[in-house]
Protein backbone atom coordinates (compact mmCIF):
# COMPACT_ATOMS: atom_id res chain seq x y z
CA UNK A 1 0.00 0.00 0.00
CA UNK A 2 1.45 3.41 -0.88
CA UNK A 3 1.47 6.58 1.22
CA UNK A 4 -1.88 7.72 -0.19
CA UNK A 5 -3.55 4.52 0.93
CA UNK A 6 -3.78 3.15 -2.62
CA UNK A 7 -3.30 -0.59 -2.93
CA UNK A 8 -1.20 -2.57 -5.43
CA UNK A 9 -4.03 -2.71 -7.93
CA UNK A 10 -5.10 0.93 -7.45
CA UNK A 11 -8.01 0.34 -5.08
CA UNK A 12 -8.73 2.11 -1.81
CA UNK A 13 -8.99 0.11 1.41
CA UNK A 14 -12.75 -0.35 1.19
CA UNK A 15 -13.13 -1.05 -2.51
CA UNK A 16 -14.04 -4.38 -4.12
CA UNK A 17 -12.38 -5.74 -7.19
CA UNK A 18 -14.52 -5.72 -10.36
CA UNK A 19 -17.21 -8.37 -10.04
CA UNK A 20 -19.28 -10.00 -12.73
CA UNK A 21 -21.69 -12.89 -12.24
CA UNK A 22 -23.73 -14.87 -14.72
CA UNK A 23 -26.27 -17.57 -13.90
CA UNK A 24 -27.28 -20.60 -15.98
CA UNK A 25 -24.14 -20.91 -18.06
CA UNK A 26 -23.89 -24.70 -18.25
CA UNK A 27 -26.48 -26.56 -20.28
CA UNK A 28 -26.02 -29.99 -18.76
CA UNK A 29 -26.03 -28.96 -15.12
CA UNK A 30 -29.27 -28.56 -13.20
CA UNK A 31 -28.00 -25.22 -11.98
CA UNK A 32 -24.87 -23.24 -12.70
CA UNK A 33 -23.16 -19.89 -12.31
CA UNK A 34 -19.97 -18.24 -13.44
CA UNK A 35 -18.22 -15.58 -11.41
CA UNK A 36 -15.41 -13.26 -12.44
CA UNK A 37 -14.09 -11.50 -9.38
CA UNK A 38 -10.82 -9.67 -9.86
CA UNK A 39 -8.67 -12.22 -11.66
CA UNK A 40 -10.76 -15.12 -10.39
CA UNK A 41 -12.77 -16.99 -12.97
CA UNK A 42 -14.88 -19.66 -11.33
CA UNK A 43 -17.66 -21.93 -12.50
CA UNK A 44 -20.08 -23.52 -10.09
CA UNK A 45 -22.36 -26.37 -11.13
CA UNK A 46 -25.08 -28.14 -9.22
CA UNK A 47 -26.42 -31.58 -10.07
CA UNK A 48 -29.39 -32.95 -8.28
CA UNK A 49 -31.20 -33.80 -6.20
CA UNK A 50 -30.42 -37.21 -7.62
CA UNK A 51 -30.03 -40.75 -6.39
CA UNK A 52 -27.27 -41.18 -3.85
CA UNK A 53 -24.35 -43.36 -4.86
CA UNK A 54 -23.03 -45.33 -3.07
CA UNK A 55 -26.46 -46.29 -1.78
CA UNK A 56 -25.34 -47.06 1.78
CA UNK A 57 -24.25 -43.46 2.36
CA UNK A 58 -27.69 -42.01 1.74
CA UNK A 59 -29.54 -40.49 4.66
CA UNK A 60 -33.09 -41.58 5.36
CA UNK A 61 -34.30 -38.15 6.43
CA UNK A 62 -32.45 -35.68 4.23
CA UNK A 63 -30.21 -35.12 1.24
CA UNK A 64 -26.47 -35.46 1.34
CA UNK A 65 -24.67 -32.33 0.18
CA UNK A 66 -21.44 -33.05 -1.63
CA UNK A 67 -19.04 -30.30 -2.60
CA UNK A 68 -15.91 -30.31 -4.64
CA UNK A 69 -13.64 -27.31 -4.86
CA UNK A 70 -11.10 -27.94 -7.57
CA UNK A 71 -8.42 -25.84 -9.19
CA UNK A 72 -7.79 -26.48 -12.85
CA UNK A 73 -4.13 -27.26 -13.63
CA UNK A 74 -3.92 -24.05 -15.68
CA UNK A 75 -5.52 -21.82 -13.04
CA UNK A 76 -2.22 -20.75 -11.53
CA UNK A 77 1.16 -19.63 -12.92
CA UNK A 78 2.92 -22.90 -12.23
CA UNK A 79 0.95 -25.99 -13.30
CA UNK A 80 -1.03 -27.37 -10.44
CA UNK A 81 -1.30 -31.10 -10.03
CA UNK A 82 -4.97 -31.89 -10.72
CA UNK A 83 -5.18 -34.33 -7.83
CA UNK A 84 -7.05 -32.83 -4.87
CA UNK A 85 -4.55 -31.25 -2.51
CA UNK A 86 -4.85 -30.87 1.25
CA UNK A 87 -5.96 -27.28 0.70
CA UNK A 88 -8.66 -28.21 -1.82
CA UNK A 89 -10.06 -30.89 0.46
CA UNK A 90 -10.30 -28.38 3.29
CA UNK A 91 -11.94 -25.76 1.11
CA UNK A 92 -14.43 -28.33 -0.20
CA UNK A 93 -15.41 -29.00 3.38
CA UNK A 94 -15.78 -25.36 4.40
CA UNK A 95 -17.80 -24.58 1.27
CA UNK A 96 -20.12 -27.46 2.07
CA UNK A 97 -20.54 -26.21 5.60
CA UNK A 98 -21.07 -22.65 4.41
CA UNK A 99 -23.87 -23.68 2.02
CA UNK A 100 -25.59 -26.31 4.13
CA UNK A 101 -27.39 -23.92 6.55
CA UNK A 102 -29.10 -22.21 3.62
CA UNK A 103 -30.59 -25.40 2.20
CA UNK A 104 -33.66 -27.37 3.11
CA UNK A 105 -31.91 -30.71 2.79
CA UNK A 106 -34.73 -32.38 4.69
CA UNK A 107 -37.02 -31.71 1.72
CA UNK A 108 -35.08 -34.21 -0.36
CA UNK A 109 -34.66 -37.39 1.67
CA UNK A 110 -32.46 -40.21 0.36
CA UNK A 111 -30.94 -38.09 -2.36
CA UNK A 112 -27.66 -36.37 -3.10
CA UNK A 113 -26.96 -32.83 -4.18
CA UNK A 114 -23.59 -32.38 -5.81
CA UNK A 115 -21.91 -29.00 -6.02
CA UNK A 116 -18.84 -28.52 -8.15
CA UNK A 117 -16.74 -25.39 -7.81
CA UNK A 118 -14.11 -25.27 -10.51
CA UNK A 119 -11.43 -22.59 -10.39
CA UNK A 120 -10.46 -21.78 -13.96
CA UNK A 121 -8.24 -18.83 -13.05
CA UNK A 122 -7.30 -18.11 -9.50
CA UNK A 123 -6.75 -14.95 -7.50
CA UNK A 124 -7.19 -14.09 -3.85
CA UNK A 125 -10.46 -14.98 -2.19
CA UNK A 126 -11.41 -17.87 -4.43
CA UNK A 127 -13.28 -19.74 -1.71
CA UNK A 128 -15.66 -16.87 -1.03
CA UNK A 129 -16.12 -16.32 -4.75
CA UNK A 130 -16.83 -20.04 -5.06
CA UNK A 131 -19.45 -19.88 -2.31
CA UNK A 132 -21.13 -16.87 -3.92
CA UNK A 133 -21.35 -18.68 -7.24
CA UNK A 134 -22.38 -22.00 -5.71
CA UNK A 135 -25.28 -20.36 -3.87
CA UNK A 136 -26.56 -19.01 -7.18
CA UNK A 137 -26.14 -22.37 -8.87
CA UNK A 138 -28.22 -23.96 -6.10
CA UNK A 139 -30.95 -21.38 -6.54
CA UNK A 140 -30.81 -21.94 -10.30
CA UNK A 141 -31.18 -25.69 -9.73
CA UNK A 142 -34.42 -24.98 -7.89
CA UNK A 143 -33.48 -26.32 -4.49
CA UNK A 144 -35.45 -24.91 -1.57
CA UNK A 145 -33.29 -22.33 0.18
CA UNK A 146 -33.70 -20.17 3.24
CA UNK A 147 -31.48 -17.51 1.73
CA UNK A 148 -28.61 -17.05 -0.66
CA UNK A 149 -25.09 -17.25 0.72
CA UNK A 150 -22.63 -14.46 0.04
CA UNK A 151 -18.90 -14.63 0.56
CA UNK A 152 -16.45 -11.80 0.98
CA UNK A 153 -12.92 -11.65 2.34
CA UNK A 154 -11.13 -9.00 4.38
CA UNK A 155 -7.53 -8.86 5.53
CA UNK A 156 -4.72 -6.89 6.99
CA UNK A 157 -2.14 -5.24 4.76
CA UNK A 158 0.59 -2.99 6.17
CA UNK A 159 -1.23 -2.93 9.48
CA UNK A 160 -4.46 -1.70 7.94
CA UNK A 161 -7.73 -3.58 7.53
CA UNK A 162 -8.66 -3.80 3.84
CA UNK A 163 -11.57 -5.27 1.93
CA UNK A 164 -11.35 -8.07 -0.64
CA UNK A 165 -7.71 -9.14 -0.85
CA UNK A 166 -6.15 -9.91 -4.19
CA UNK A 167 -3.50 -12.58 -4.68
CA UNK A 168 -0.53 -10.33 -3.85
CA UNK A 169 -2.15 -8.93 -0.73
CA UNK A 170 -3.11 -12.42 0.31
CA UNK A 171 0.47 -13.62 0.05
CA UNK A 172 2.32 -10.50 1.27
CA UNK A 173 -0.22 -9.24 3.78
CA UNK A 174 -0.25 -10.09 7.44
CA UNK A 175 -3.75 -11.46 7.78
CA UNK A 176 -6.70 -12.76 5.84
CA UNK A 177 -10.28 -13.44 6.91
CA UNK A 178 -12.77 -15.15 4.58
CA UNK A 179 -16.34 -14.57 5.59
CA UNK A 180 -19.65 -15.92 4.28
CA UNK A 181 -23.13 -15.12 5.48
CA UNK A 182 -26.81 -15.25 4.67
CA UNK A 183 -27.71 -11.60 4.09
CA UNK A 184 -31.42 -11.70 4.85
CA UNK A 185 -31.08 -13.87 7.91
CA UNK A 186 -27.92 -12.07 8.97
CA UNK A 187 -26.29 -15.36 9.96
CA UNK A 188 -22.64 -16.23 9.48
CA UNK A 189 -21.89 -19.53 7.75
CA UNK A 190 -18.15 -19.23 7.26
CA UNK A 191 -15.55 -17.38 9.26
CA UNK A 192 -11.93 -18.28 8.98
CA UNK A 193 -8.89 -16.27 9.96
CA UNK A 194 -5.24 -16.45 9.18
CA UNK A 195 -2.66 -14.13 10.73
CA UNK A 196 -2.77 -11.95 13.81
CA UNK A 197 -5.60 -9.50 14.49
CA UNK A 198 -6.11 -7.57 17.69
CA UNK A 199 -9.57 -7.64 19.17
CA UNK A 200 -10.37 -4.23 17.70
CA UNK A 201 -8.96 -5.13 14.33
CA UNK A 202 -11.09 -8.23 14.26
CA UNK A 203 -14.23 -6.27 15.04
CA UNK A 204 -13.38 -3.72 12.39
CA UNK A 205 -12.64 -6.48 9.88
CA UNK A 206 -15.94 -8.21 10.57
CA UNK A 207 -17.85 -4.97 10.11
CA UNK A 208 -16.04 -4.33 6.83
CA UNK A 209 -16.74 -7.86 5.62
CA UNK A 210 -20.46 -7.35 6.24
CA UNK A 211 -20.52 -4.09 4.33
CA UNK A 212 -18.51 -5.62 1.47
CA UNK A 213 -20.71 -8.69 1.50
CA UNK A 214 -23.85 -6.63 1.07
CA UNK A 215 -22.32 -5.03 -2.02
CA UNK A 216 -21.59 -8.48 -3.38
CA UNK A 217 -25.13 -9.60 -2.55
CA UNK A 218 -26.55 -6.78 -4.65
CA UNK A 219 -24.62 -7.99 -7.69
CA UNK A 220 -25.41 -11.64 -6.92
CA UNK A 221 -29.10 -10.85 -6.69
CA UNK A 222 -29.05 -8.88 -9.92
CA UNK A 223 -27.42 -11.83 -11.69
CA UNK A 224 -30.16 -14.20 -10.62
CA UNK A 225 -32.97 -11.82 -11.53
CA UNK A 226 -31.31 -11.19 -14.86
CA UNK A 227 -31.30 -14.91 -15.64
CA UNK A 228 -34.97 -15.43 -14.89
CA UNK A 229 -36.70 -12.15 -15.52
CA UNK A 230 -34.74 -10.28 -18.17
CA UNK A 231 -36.61 -9.29 -21.28
CA UNK A 232 -39.89 -9.97 -19.53
CA UNK A 233 -40.29 -6.45 -18.29
CA UNK A 234 -43.01 -5.61 -15.83
CA UNK A 235 -45.73 -8.16 -16.11
CA UNK A 236 -49.42 -7.80 -16.07
CA UNK A 237 -51.55 -9.86 -13.80
CA UNK A 238 -54.12 -10.85 -16.39
CA UNK A 239 -52.88 -14.38 -16.91
CA UNK A 240 -52.32 -15.27 -13.30
CA UNK A 241 -55.33 -17.48 -13.08
CA UNK A 242 -54.74 -18.91 -16.50
CA UNK A 243 -51.16 -19.64 -15.62
CA UNK A 244 -50.86 -22.46 -13.22
CA UNK A 245 -54.32 -23.79 -12.58
CA UNK A 246 -54.84 -26.93 -14.47
CA UNK A 247 -57.98 -28.98 -14.37
Amino acid sequence: MDENGIRTDGRRWDELRPLKIEVGVLKNADGSAKIEWGKNIIMAAVYGPKEMHPKHLELADRAVLKCRYHMAPFSVDERKNPAPSRREIEISKVIREALQPALFLEDYPRTAIQVYVEILQSDGGSRVAGITAAALALADAGINMRDLVVGCAVGKVDGKIVLDLNDTEDKEGSGDMPYAFMPNLNQVTLLQMDGLFTHDEFKQALELAKVGGMKVYKIQREALLQRYFSGGGPETSTTTAEMMEEA
Binding site: R146, F229, E246
Partner: protein, 239 residues
Protein backbone atom coordinates in the same frame (compact mmCIF):
# COMPACT_ATOMS: atom_id res chain seq x y z
CA UNK B 1 -54.66 -7.16 3.01
CA UNK B 2 -52.68 -6.46 -0.11
CA UNK B 3 -52.97 -8.77 -3.04
CA UNK B 4 -49.83 -9.39 -5.03
CA UNK B 5 -49.64 -11.10 -8.38
CA UNK B 6 -46.50 -12.26 -10.10
CA UNK B 7 -43.91 -10.55 -7.95
CA UNK B 8 -40.41 -11.64 -8.91
CA UNK B 9 -38.65 -13.24 -5.99
CA UNK B 10 -35.48 -15.15 -5.20
CA UNK B 11 -34.71 -17.28 -2.14
CA UNK B 12 -34.60 -15.19 1.03
CA UNK B 13 -36.80 -12.38 -0.26
CA UNK B 14 -39.56 -11.13 1.96
CA UNK B 15 -42.74 -11.29 -0.11
CA UNK B 16 -44.97 -9.52 2.37
CA UNK B 17 -45.18 -8.77 6.07
CA UNK B 18 -48.30 -9.41 8.04
CA UNK B 19 -50.81 -12.03 9.02
CA UNK B 20 -50.82 -14.39 6.05
CA UNK B 21 -50.74 -18.12 5.53
CA UNK B 22 -47.57 -19.55 3.99
CA UNK B 23 -48.23 -21.86 1.06
CA UNK B 24 -45.99 -23.49 -1.54
CA UNK B 25 -42.31 -22.58 -1.22
CA UNK B 26 -43.00 -19.92 1.39
CA UNK B 27 -41.80 -19.87 4.97
CA UNK B 28 -43.01 -17.70 7.81
CA UNK B 29 -40.21 -15.91 9.63
CA UNK B 30 -41.65 -13.88 12.46
CA UNK B 31 -44.15 -11.75 10.60
CA UNK B 32 -42.39 -11.99 7.27
CA UNK B 33 -43.37 -14.34 4.47
CA UNK B 34 -40.15 -15.45 2.82
CA UNK B 35 -39.68 -17.06 -0.59
CA UNK B 36 -37.64 -20.25 -0.83
CA UNK B 37 -37.34 -20.44 -4.61
CA UNK B 38 -36.73 -18.31 -7.66
CA UNK B 39 -40.15 -17.60 -9.00
CA UNK B 40 -43.27 -15.51 -9.05
CA UNK B 41 -44.97 -14.78 -5.75
CA UNK B 42 -48.70 -14.52 -5.44
CA UNK B 43 -51.07 -13.57 -2.70
CA UNK B 44 -54.65 -14.58 -3.06
CA UNK B 45 -56.71 -13.51 -0.05
CA UNK B 46 -54.64 -14.81 2.84
CA UNK B 47 -52.50 -17.36 1.06
CA UNK B 48 -49.00 -16.59 -0.08
CA UNK B 49 -47.33 -18.88 -2.56
CA UNK B 50 -44.41 -18.90 -4.97
CA UNK B 51 -44.66 -20.41 -8.41
CA UNK B 52 -41.13 -21.71 -8.96
CA UNK B 53 -39.37 -21.20 -12.28
CA UNK B 54 -36.80 -23.95 -11.93
CA UNK B 55 -36.34 -27.24 -10.20
CA UNK B 56 -36.35 -30.98 -10.55
CA UNK B 57 -39.45 -33.16 -10.51
CA UNK B 58 -40.46 -34.37 -7.07
CA UNK B 59 -43.24 -36.96 -7.31
CA UNK B 60 -46.67 -36.13 -5.95
CA UNK B 61 -49.53 -38.56 -5.40
CA UNK B 62 -52.06 -38.55 -8.27
CA UNK B 63 -49.61 -36.99 -10.73
CA UNK B 64 -49.61 -38.41 -14.22
CA UNK B 65 -46.09 -39.20 -15.38
CA UNK B 66 -44.37 -40.69 -18.39
CA UNK B 67 -41.99 -43.44 -17.31
CA UNK B 68 -39.47 -45.59 -19.08
CA UNK B 69 -38.91 -49.12 -17.84
CA UNK B 70 -35.30 -49.52 -16.75
CA UNK B 71 -35.48 -52.83 -14.95
CA UNK B 72 -37.80 -55.80 -14.62
CA UNK B 73 -37.62 -57.39 -11.18
CA UNK B 74 -39.33 -60.56 -10.04
CA UNK B 75 -42.37 -58.71 -8.76
CA UNK B 76 -42.72 -55.62 -10.87
CA UNK B 77 -41.07 -52.99 -13.01
CA UNK B 78 -38.78 -50.11 -12.20
CA UNK B 79 -39.31 -47.01 -14.30
CA UNK B 80 -37.26 -43.88 -14.82
CA UNK B 81 -39.69 -41.05 -14.14
CA UNK B 82 -37.21 -38.21 -14.70
CA UNK B 83 -36.77 -37.70 -10.98
CA UNK B 84 -34.32 -38.48 -8.21
CA UNK B 85 -36.60 -41.37 -7.25
CA UNK B 86 -37.27 -44.49 -9.29
CA UNK B 87 -40.91 -45.36 -9.89
CA UNK B 88 -42.01 -48.88 -9.07
CA UNK B 89 -44.93 -50.59 -10.77
CA UNK B 90 -45.90 -53.77 -8.90
CA UNK B 91 -47.04 -56.81 -10.87
CA UNK B 92 -50.39 -56.94 -9.03
CA UNK B 93 -51.36 -53.58 -10.47
CA UNK B 94 -51.10 -54.99 -13.98
CA UNK B 95 -52.08 -58.67 -13.65
CA UNK B 96 -54.53 -58.32 -10.76
CA UNK B 97 -54.74 -59.80 -7.30
CA UNK B 98 -53.84 -63.34 -8.35
CA UNK B 99 -50.49 -62.23 -9.70
CA UNK B 100 -47.67 -64.61 -8.99
CA UNK B 101 -44.15 -64.37 -10.36
CA UNK B 102 -44.29 -68.11 -11.10
CA UNK B 103 -47.31 -68.03 -13.39
CA UNK B 104 -47.06 -64.60 -14.97
CA UNK B 105 -44.28 -63.41 -17.22
CA UNK B 106 -43.72 -59.74 -16.51
CA UNK B 107 -41.97 -59.14 -19.81
CA UNK B 108 -45.15 -59.86 -21.77
CA UNK B 109 -46.50 -56.48 -20.66
CA UNK B 110 -43.45 -54.24 -20.29
CA UNK B 111 -39.80 -54.85 -21.07
CA UNK B 112 -36.78 -52.66 -20.53
CA UNK B 113 -37.08 -49.56 -22.69
CA UNK B 114 -40.89 -49.52 -22.89
CA UNK B 115 -42.69 -46.27 -22.21
CA UNK B 116 -45.74 -45.97 -20.04
CA UNK B 117 -48.16 -43.31 -18.95
CA UNK B 118 -48.68 -43.93 -15.26
CA UNK B 119 -50.10 -42.35 -12.18
CA UNK B 120 -48.26 -41.91 -8.89
CA UNK B 121 -50.26 -44.17 -6.61
CA UNK B 122 -48.33 -43.60 -3.39
CA UNK B 123 -45.29 -41.64 -2.37
CA UNK B 124 -43.83 -40.40 0.87
CA UNK B 125 -40.45 -39.48 2.28
CA UNK B 126 -39.59 -43.03 3.24
CA UNK B 127 -40.37 -45.00 0.11
CA UNK B 128 -39.87 -44.69 -3.60
CA UNK B 129 -42.96 -43.70 -5.57
CA UNK B 130 -45.37 -46.48 -6.49
CA UNK B 131 -46.89 -46.31 -9.95
CA UNK B 132 -50.20 -47.54 -11.24
CA UNK B 133 -51.56 -47.86 -14.77
CA UNK B 134 -55.19 -48.25 -13.78
CA UNK B 135 -57.14 -45.33 -15.10
CA UNK B 136 -58.27 -43.72 -18.34
CA UNK B 137 -55.50 -43.28 -20.92
CA UNK B 138 -52.92 -44.90 -18.66
CA UNK B 139 -50.78 -47.79 -19.80
CA UNK B 140 -48.17 -48.57 -22.37
CA UNK B 141 -47.23 -45.92 -24.91
CA UNK B 142 -46.62 -47.86 -28.14
CA UNK B 143 -45.03 -45.12 -30.22
CA UNK B 144 -44.24 -41.44 -30.41
CA UNK B 145 -41.59 -38.78 -30.19
CA UNK B 146 -40.31 -37.90 -26.75
CA UNK B 147 -39.39 -34.40 -25.73
CA UNK B 148 -38.52 -33.16 -22.29
CA UNK B 149 -39.17 -29.79 -20.71
CA UNK B 150 -38.62 -28.41 -17.25
CA UNK B 151 -41.20 -30.04 -14.95
CA UNK B 152 -41.94 -26.64 -13.39
CA UNK B 153 -43.31 -25.46 -16.74
CA UNK B 154 -45.67 -28.35 -17.33
CA UNK B 155 -48.70 -26.62 -15.73
CA UNK B 156 -48.27 -23.76 -18.18
CA UNK B 157 -48.10 -26.18 -21.10
CA UNK B 158 -51.30 -27.84 -19.97
CA UNK B 159 -53.01 -24.54 -19.29
CA UNK B 160 -56.22 -23.93 -17.47
CA UNK B 161 -58.35 -27.07 -17.66
CA UNK B 162 -56.06 -28.35 -20.40
CA UNK B 163 -56.82 -25.42 -22.66
CA UNK B 164 -53.32 -24.96 -24.03
CA UNK B 165 -52.48 -28.61 -24.60
CA UNK B 166 -55.84 -29.37 -26.20
CA UNK B 167 -55.41 -26.44 -28.52
CA UNK B 168 -51.97 -27.64 -29.59
CA UNK B 169 -53.17 -31.22 -30.02
CA UNK B 170 -56.08 -30.18 -32.18
CA UNK B 171 -54.24 -27.71 -34.38
CA UNK B 172 -51.41 -30.16 -35.06
CA UNK B 173 -53.62 -33.29 -35.28
CA UNK B 174 -51.49 -35.07 -32.71
CA UNK B 175 -52.01 -37.28 -29.75
CA UNK B 176 -50.05 -35.66 -26.94
CA UNK B 177 -49.29 -37.31 -23.64
CA UNK B 178 -47.90 -35.01 -20.99
CA UNK B 179 -46.33 -36.19 -17.77
CA UNK B 180 -46.05 -33.89 -14.77
CA UNK B 181 -42.42 -35.00 -14.72
CA UNK B 182 -41.70 -32.95 -17.85
CA UNK B 183 -41.70 -35.82 -20.34
CA UNK B 184 -43.99 -35.38 -23.32
CA UNK B 185 -44.80 -37.96 -25.99
CA UNK B 186 -46.09 -36.77 -29.34
CA UNK B 187 -47.70 -39.10 -31.83
CA UNK B 188 -49.10 -38.31 -35.26
CA UNK B 189 -48.06 -36.82 -38.60
CA UNK B 190 -44.46 -35.65 -38.87
CA UNK B 191 -45.26 -32.06 -39.79
CA UNK B 192 -47.54 -31.82 -36.78
CA UNK B 193 -44.76 -33.05 -34.53
CA UNK B 194 -42.33 -30.50 -35.91
CA UNK B 195 -44.81 -27.74 -35.25
CA UNK B 196 -45.71 -28.95 -31.78
CA UNK B 197 -42.05 -29.17 -30.78
CA UNK B 198 -41.62 -25.53 -31.77
CA UNK B 199 -44.64 -24.52 -29.75
CA UNK B 200 -43.61 -26.51 -26.70
CA UNK B 201 -40.14 -25.02 -26.78
CA UNK B 202 -41.65 -21.56 -26.97
CA UNK B 203 -43.79 -22.30 -23.95
CA UNK B 204 -40.81 -23.57 -22.02
CA UNK B 205 -38.75 -20.47 -22.81
CA UNK B 206 -41.47 -17.97 -22.13
CA UNK B 207 -43.51 -19.72 -19.47
CA UNK B 208 -43.48 -16.66 -17.23
CA UNK B 209 -44.61 -14.23 -19.92
CA UNK B 210 -48.08 -12.83 -19.91
CA UNK B 211 -49.03 -13.00 -23.59
CA UNK B 212 -48.14 -16.62 -24.11
CA UNK B 213 -51.49 -17.84 -25.41
CA UNK B 214 -51.46 -15.24 -28.17
CA UNK B 215 -47.92 -16.15 -29.19
CA UNK B 216 -48.79 -19.83 -29.34
CA UNK B 217 -51.85 -19.12 -31.44
CA UNK B 218 -49.77 -17.05 -33.78
CA UNK B 219 -47.21 -19.82 -34.15
CA UNK B 220 -49.97 -22.31 -34.86
CA UNK B 221 -51.46 -20.00 -37.46
CA UNK B 222 -54.74 -18.99 -35.87
CA UNK B 223 -55.97 -15.51 -35.15
CA UNK B 224 -54.44 -14.40 -31.87
CA UNK B 225 -56.81 -13.02 -29.32
CA UNK B 226 -59.68 -15.23 -30.39
CA UNK B 227 -61.16 -16.57 -27.17
CA UNK B 228 -58.31 -16.36 -24.67
CA UNK B 229 -58.22 -18.71 -21.74
CA UNK B 230 -61.59 -20.35 -21.95
CA UNK B 231 -61.80 -24.05 -21.44
CA UNK B 232 -62.26 -25.65 -24.86
CA UNK B 233 -64.91 -24.98 -27.45
CA UNK B 234 -65.12 -21.65 -29.25
CA UNK B 235 -63.95 -20.52 -32.63
CA UNK B 236 -60.43 -21.90 -32.73
CA UNK B 237 -61.04 -25.53 -31.96
CA UNK B 238 -61.07 -26.78 -35.53
CA UNK B 239 -58.56 -26.09 -38.24
Amino acid sequence: MVEITRKQVIPGDVIVTGDYRPGMYVQRRGNDMVALRVGLAEIIRNDVKVIPLSGAYIPKVEDQVVGKVVNVTGYGWEADINSCFVGYLPGQFVFGRDFSPATHDLTTRFTVGDLMLAKIEAFDRTRDPQLSIRGPDLGKIPQGEIIKISPMKVPRLIGRKGYMINMIAELTALQIKVGQNGVIVLDGPAEGIAKAVQVIQLIEQEAHMADLTAKVQQLLGVQPGAAPAQPMGGENTGE
